[in-house]
């Protein structure tokens, strides 16, 4: 086994997903198969190879430091499930 149910449950926590016991079992089997497959990358010696993060080589993209119009509070909040007083509203964070 490449990955255990315990590991999968831990990763689900990192990803902010909660899985039912049945989902956890299926997910573990599927992730195990996929991780087994991707292991083939270890057939390749990649010592000294520079990793590619981006296919088009480009350095920092700068723009002019200039104030431009923004969408405004009303539009920014237009899709919020809960908003109040010009803010996004969330469940209590600090007890």
């Amino acid at each position: 086994m490449k990955i255990s149910e315990k590991n999968v449950a831990y990763v689900a926590g990192l990803a902010r997903l909660s899985l039912t016991p049945e989902e956890l079992k299926t997910m573990t089997g599927q992730m195990d198969a996929i991780l087994g497959y991707v292991d083939k990358l270890n057939e390749l010696n990649t010592d000294g190879i520079i990793p590619t993060a981006h296919a088009v080589p480009m350095a920092n993209a700068f723009r002019v430091d200039q104030v431009v119009t923004s969408i405004g509070t009303a539009a920014a909040l237009a899709n919020a499930p809960h908003g109040a007083d010009g803010c996004f509203q969330v469940p209590k964070v600090i007890e």
Partner: protein
């Protein structure tokens, strides 16, 4: 002319000569959608009223003699493009009620040209899938045989074009999501070089791989639509500031004397005999047109699927962290604190394939596994990219199949994600290398399902690739075949 045969290039002439009107053409498309969408399930959202408003405005512009290439042309958009005031779900329950407050740059460019937007097209949830089966809106069906998938993730875009519901459409391609559905539906689809087209306002899946591109009925239309959307955008720092050629002007330059490479790793045992026969026949067409066909090798091809499913999922796990029920989308909260709300929202809002990819990506990036999975995959990506750069020192273009088989049956691969992933083997490498590639129709299998031919061009070599595609199209009739529906 049948609504199934309308093209941008043909309609443009008709409209500018005022032999037809944008309103009349839009009405024909909407009637066609009314008559076929129950069978195909192509549209996630329609906007008939604003489409007629767009068309009316286009007619005013046409009669004033101020028309642009796309003025009055009915187009469809994959439901991944932000459209101001028009619901954009990205095929997901978590965005079921999301109405963008701005247009994606590509949408803005279409609107500036006076195009008529008729609606938002079905897709795999967050563009993750090769069959359109993972859409919250339900599977979209292949117009050549509705028991088969249309391909994915831009399935709705390919179906809408093939079935005559729109004249052309935009899709996105992260690992083949334009080319594979275009091949499965018998239409033309092009993934531009990374950086050629702005991604601003396009809902992100894997940001280092995603590109926007056209799906059309002819190569000429593909050139016209690409030209309309390509170019630098200050809102996308990864778009590249280099001039956009006049793709249409050079289309007829031919392939005589061109060197076309046949990568031996793409002609493997798993290739369906009908696909192999169609691609072999295409090779002979090119030989007849005066091209020189050369065997080449892309030795790391076999590692591309493994490489892709680590890099794409890692990027996805990061990109999709924003769906937390705070700023947009659907919130689920049955009590508890903030973390509980995040978990409830994401668990209820995402479908199985999206959860699987978020999990894989989170794992590949997690402490202790980063070097073994994500960093390793990025190094292999370098090797895959070098394969292409070396091949392009010898040849001008590469010619391959788009997919190992024609469209598979609905449900056939749903229980085995790995098998589904492996069906992308011929399209993924171009995304990893960042170069341009396209699919053009090149035949049918015994069941009457279309087969696609893939041309892969040099980085920013769209012009040369389109010339070769156009030459093939002129020499064959495949692009004129339409489903009977």
């Amino acid at each position: 002319m049948s609504v199934l045969q309308l093209t941008i290039s043909g309609l443009r002439e008709e409209l500018q000569a005022q032999r037809t009107s944008a309103v009349a053409v839009t009405r024909r498309c909407i009637e066609r959608i009314d008559n076929t969408d129950d069978q195909l399930n192509t549209f996630v959202s329609r906007c008939d009223d604003s489409a007629f408003q767009d068309a009316t405005a286009a007619d005013v512009r046409l009669s004033a003699g101020k028309a642009a290439t796309l003025t009055g042309i009915p187009l469809g958009l994959k439901d991944i493009f932000s459209t101001k005031g028009l619901r954009t779900t990205c095929g997901s329950k978590i965005l079921a009620n999301y109405v963008p407050v701005y247009d994606a740059t590509v949408v803005e460019r279409l609107r500036e040209q006076g195009a008529v937007i008729v609606g938002k097209l079905n897709m795999d949830e967050f563009a993750m899938g090769s069959s359109n089966e993972s859409s919250a809106a339900g599977v979209c069906r292949n117009p050549w045989d509705t028991n088969h998938v249309p391909g994915g993730s831009s399935g709705g875009s390919a179906v809408a074009v093939a079935a005559g519901q729109v004249v052309a459409a935009l899709g996105t391609d992260t690992g083949g999501s334009i080319r594979q559905p275009a091949a499965h539906c018998g239409v033309v689809g092009l993934k531009p070089t990374y950086g050629r087209v702005s991604r601003y306002g396009v809902i992100a899946y894997a940001s280092s791989l995603d590109q926007v591109g056209p799906i059309t009925r002819t190569v000429e239309d593909c050139a016209l639509l690409l030209e309309a959307i390509a170019g630098y955008d200050p809102c996308d720092s990864t778009s590249v500031d280099c001039p956009v050629p006049d793709y249409q002007a050079s289309l007829r330059d031919g392939v005589a004397g061109k060197k076309i490479g046949l990568p031996q790793e793409y002609f493997i045992a798993g290739l369906d005999p009908a696909v192999k026969a169609a691609v072999d026949a295409a090779v002979e067409v090119y030989r007849g047109l005066g091209a020189e066909l050369v065997p080449v090798s892309l030795p790391h091809t076999d590692y591309s699927v493994a490489c892709y499913y680590l890099i794409a999922t890692a990027e996805a796990s990061s990109n999709l962290a924003r769906y937390d029920g705070v700023r947009f989308g659907v919130r689920h909260c049955t009590g508890g604190g903030l973390i509980d709300m995040y978990q409830q929202t994401r668990s209820a809002g995402f479908g199985a394939e999206v959860k699987r990819r978020i999990m894989l990506g989170t794992y590949a990036l997690s402490s202790g596994y980063y070097d073994a999975y994500y960093l390793k995959a990025q190094k292999v990506r370098t090797l895959i990219r070098q394969d292409f750069l070396k091949a392009f020192e010898q040849v001008d273009l590469l010619l391959t199949p788009v997919a190992p088989t024609a469209a598979f049956k609905i449900g056939e691969k749903m229980d085995d994600p790995l098998q589904m992933y492996l069906s992308d083997i011929f399209t993924i490498p171009a995304n990893l290398a960042g170069t341009c590639a396209m699919s053009i129709p090149c035949g049918f299998d015994a069941a009457g399902l279309p087969i696609g031919l893939q041309l892969i061009g040099k980085p920013f070599g769209e012009e040369e690739m389109l010339q070769a595609a156009w030459a093939f199209e002129q020499a064959t009739d495949w692009h004129t075949c339409r489903p009977t529906l």
